[in-house]
């Protein structure tokens, strides 16, 4: 059941109605309803993996309680490591087994030993990377005494499985979401309207921007040997817009949907393409994953406390692990490493926390310097996206080789003018709303009703105009 489908709209309407009109008398009923709805939502993808989700939920619920009630450090460590090993074990089998089997075989083959790896024909359970990280953060937080273990299994299960975030995040923290699940929620008109606005903007990003860019990005990447350097560069830009529209659009729909139920999820994107350096980009892109790695990997590894070289080492580790989290392919690892290399000069020059505030805050236009900084940062990001999108490393390198050739100065053979127009309008709206949570949060609120409604109807029209059935979200595969 995709967010951009009528099935989801019908599902949402039914759950919303039951939630506020039938289950509104008790918090327990509301949470139970959310859990049933979430499991139904997940079962629509593949009911067989529902058992894996329930098992993973139960494991973390149980180990969380054991850690919390254990008196000795050894016992606490035992339950923590049990949870980590089992969770990562599932992730390893379903997501990474074939990658390691084939990579080891190739490595031994390089040394002259022939090994025929036994690969598994298994489907990746949707959302496994996301709910595994939910569970891990929960047990680690209990171990670190940041939170108490949740005794109510339904409440804990809603934290792991809440349907808006179940299949592609944001990756929530128990410290942020669990207290909201435990509290009585009242309907709030402003929150609900805000949620609908964010859902609409998410749909626009996904259907109008991402899916249109995907058509050209796929065409160019899938036939990259037939295109000139300039067209390939354009293809990479289309992919940059596709992945942003796709993933941040998904996050907007998730956040908006949660808000309809009175729940605030973590913000996942903050206009990353308006960043002035790579460090700022990573503070604005997939925020819930970046902060997860910061809190549960970077800091435990020593963070920035152990001197400059440890900081460099840890930075490389989290970028590479972050790349690997996206998928079992060397392209993702190189993508992560490349971003670490981009980050390195800023780290060494101690300039990685220079641009903390929004660009051109309170102003209409950026300065010329800021504009150049944003263009350069975007350019570097686009180059890295080539590795993310390519089928394999060889494809990525040949793609880059063609871009950095004389062909870069030719006129691109693919010029979808309507798409350039859409991208320009999209960037303009994003720029106008860059100081808000999402671009159209405040847009039109002070306009006359006629213009405000006309604007929203135009967005609805454009979504229907470009809507194509069964266009999946990229991040569902992770």
């Amino acid at each position: 059941m995709l967010f951009n489908s009528l099935d989801f709209a019908a599902f949402l309407l039914i759950v919303f109605t039951l939630y506020w009109f039938v289950a509104n008398k008790s918090l327990g009923m509301q949470n139970f309803l959310l859990l049933v709805a979430s499991y139904y939502f997940y079962a629509c993808w593949d009911w067989r993996f529902l058992f894996l989700l329930i098992f993973s939920t139960f494991l973390d619920y149980f180990t969380g309680l054991r850690i919390f009630h254990s008196n000795t450090k050894t016992a606490r460590q035992f339950w923590l490591w049990l949870s980590i090993i089992v969770n990562l074990g599932f992730l390893g089998v379903f997501k990474y087994y074939n990658f390691f089997a084939v990579s080891f075989s190739e490595m031994f083959g390089y040394w002259g030993f022939k090994i025929h790896p036994r690969t598994l024909d298994i489907i990746l359970p949707v959302g496994i990377s996301f709910y595994t990280f939910h569970g891990l953060s929960y047990v680690i937080d209990i171990y670190k005494n940041r939170i108490k273990a949740e005794r109510n299994f339904v409440d804990y299960s809603v934290f792991v499985s809440f349907f808006p975030l179940l299949v592609a995040g944001p990756i929530e923290r128990a410290t942020h979401l669990l207290p909201q699940i435990q509290q009585r929620r009242q309907f709030d008109y402003n929150k609900a309207v805000d949620g609908l606005r964010q859902i609409l903007w998410g749909l626009f990003k996904k259907v109008v921007i991402a899916d249109n860019c995907a058509e050209y990005a796929n065409m160019i990447f899938n036939n990259s040997e037939s295109y000139s350097g300039s067209t390939l560069a354009l293809g990479a830009v289309f992919f940059a817009f596709q992945i942003y529209g796709d993933f941040s659009g998904y996050s907007d729909i998730a956040l908006g949907t949660a808000r309809l139920f009175g729940i605030e999820l973590l913000r996942n994107f903050a206009f990353p393409y308006f960043s002035r350096d790579i460090a700022e980009f990573w503070r604005r892109w997939h925020i819930s994953l970046s902060t997860w790695f910061r809190d549960y990997l970077y800091i435990p590894l020593g963070g920035s406390k152990g001197g400059r070289w440890m900081q460099v080492r840890n930075t490389f580790i989290i970028f590479i692990v972050s790349g690997f989290w996206h998928g079992a392919n060397w392209t993702f690892i190189v993508w992560g490493a490349l971003n670490a290399i981009y980050f390195l000069p800023l780290l060494l020059a101690k300039r990685n926390r220079k641009n903390l505030e929004t660009v051109a805050q309170g102003k209409i236009f950026p300065t010329f310097r800021e504009l150049i900084q944003m263009i350069i940062t975007f350019g570097f990001t686009v180059l890295a996206w080539i590795f993310f999108r390519a089928n394999n490393l060889s494809h990525a390198f040949s793609y880059l080789h063609e871009i950095f050739s004389a062909g870069f100065f030719s006129i691109p053979s693919v010029m979808p003018l309507y798409l350039f127009g859409l991208m320009a309008v999209f960037l303009l709206i994003e720029w106008m709303g860059r100081e808000k949570q999402y671009a159209i949060q405040e847009l039109g609120k002070k306009w006359k009703p006629f213009f405000r409604y006309a604007f929203f109807y135009l967005i609805v029209f454009s979504v229907f105009f470009f809507y194509a059935d069964k266009q999946e979200f990229i991040y569902f595969q992770f």
Binding site: D121, L196, Y457, V460, Y467, D469, K470
Partner: protein, 307 residues
């Protein structure tokens, strides 16, 4: 809450009104599915002696007019075997004089499923017009939601304003659209189609599922025909060399193997492999894997003469 629901309803009302109007307009545009259905529900159905099923390969490739007996082509673009079975099962008892059923077993036939992939939007035609219980999502119940608004507005404009007919089906169900005058580059389209039809690892769960469902549908048709003493002719339609060269040998041999096996197990069943039949030359093709009207005449005459 009241205020929220009221304002939301007011906002959605014009959208629902316009959607309803567009849905009505779209459903009233004639289409090939309705043409076929009307024929199959008319009195003429009882006279059918030869019934042709399958996907675009037989829709465009088999013209009933070249059969000596009364023939009807119920094939359509991307119609997979499970839909062939639905169509056949719905109307077989009305075809009182039925003697032979032709079913193409193309390269993709056993591994393709209409409800999966790019052509899934066509499922709504079987739900809305054939009235099959085949919907996979709510979208399959609406014309408006099965395609984007751009395509739907063009369809409405073309039919209601420009008065162009969207029909491509002859009276006997053959696809008239693939004319030799408009033939495409056979090498390019052949390669592209072969790649598109290749499923890769055939042992993946989704491929095994499609294979099982398609073989089961095929066996169902053969079994019903056997009971009624109707002959079933399975055939692999001809394809241009560029298409053949890019086929996966495992997928092709498994497909051919199943067709041969079913033919061997059932006395009422024959299998004919015309994939690289030398009779068909470049001029017979519309694109790499479809025949034009010239090729359709050749294939139809070959099939009609099968003893």
């Amino acid at each position: 809450m009241k205020n929220f629901l009221l304002k939301l309803s007011l906002f959605l009302l014009p959208i629902l009104g316009v959607s309803l109007l567009l849905e009505v307009l779209l459903r009233n545009i004639p289409n090939d599915y309705l043409v076929k259905k009307h024929f199959l529900e008319s009195d003429d159905v009882s006279k059918i002696q030869t019934f042709i099923l399958g996907n675009s390969h037989s829709y465009y490739g088999v013209n009933p007019e070249y059969f000596s007996d009364s023939a009807f082509n119920a094939a359509y673009i991307s119609q997979s075997l499970s839909y062939d079975w639905k169509v056949f099962n719905r109307y077989q008892d009305k075809m009182l004089d039925l003697k032979r059923v032709f079913i193409p077993v193309s390269y993709l036939s056993l591994y393709g499923a209409l409800e999966k992939g790019k052509e899934a939007w066509r499922v709504k035609n079987y739900v809305l017009y054939y009235k099959f219980n085949a919907a996979n999502s709510i979208n399959d119940h609406f014309e408006l939601l099965s395609n984007n608004l751009d395509i739907n507005l063009k369809r409405i404009g073309s039919y209601y304003l420009k008065h162009k007919t969207p029909l491509t089906t002859s009276r006997y169900g053959w696809g008239t659209d693939y004319n030799s005058q408009k033939a495409k580059n056979l090498y390019e389209t052949g390669k592209t189609a072969a790649i598109r039809h290749t499923r890769g690892n055939l042992d993946l769960p989704e491929n095994i599922l499609s294979f099982t469902e398609n073989v089961s549908a095929l066996k169902n048709i053969v079994a019903v025909c056997k009971k009624r003493n109707i002959e079933v002719i399975l055939f692999t339609p001809p394809a241009f060399v560029a298409y053949r060269q890019h086929l996966d040998s495992v997928q092709m041999s498994r497909t051919e193997g199943i067709a041969r096996q079913i033919a061997a197990e059932n006395t009422n069943c024959k299998y004919l492999n015309l994939l690289d039949a030398p009779t068909f030359i470049a001029g017979d093709y519309y694109d790499g894997d479809h025949l034009s009207e010239i090729g359709a005449k050749k294939l139809s005459l070959i099939l009609s003469s099968v003893k």
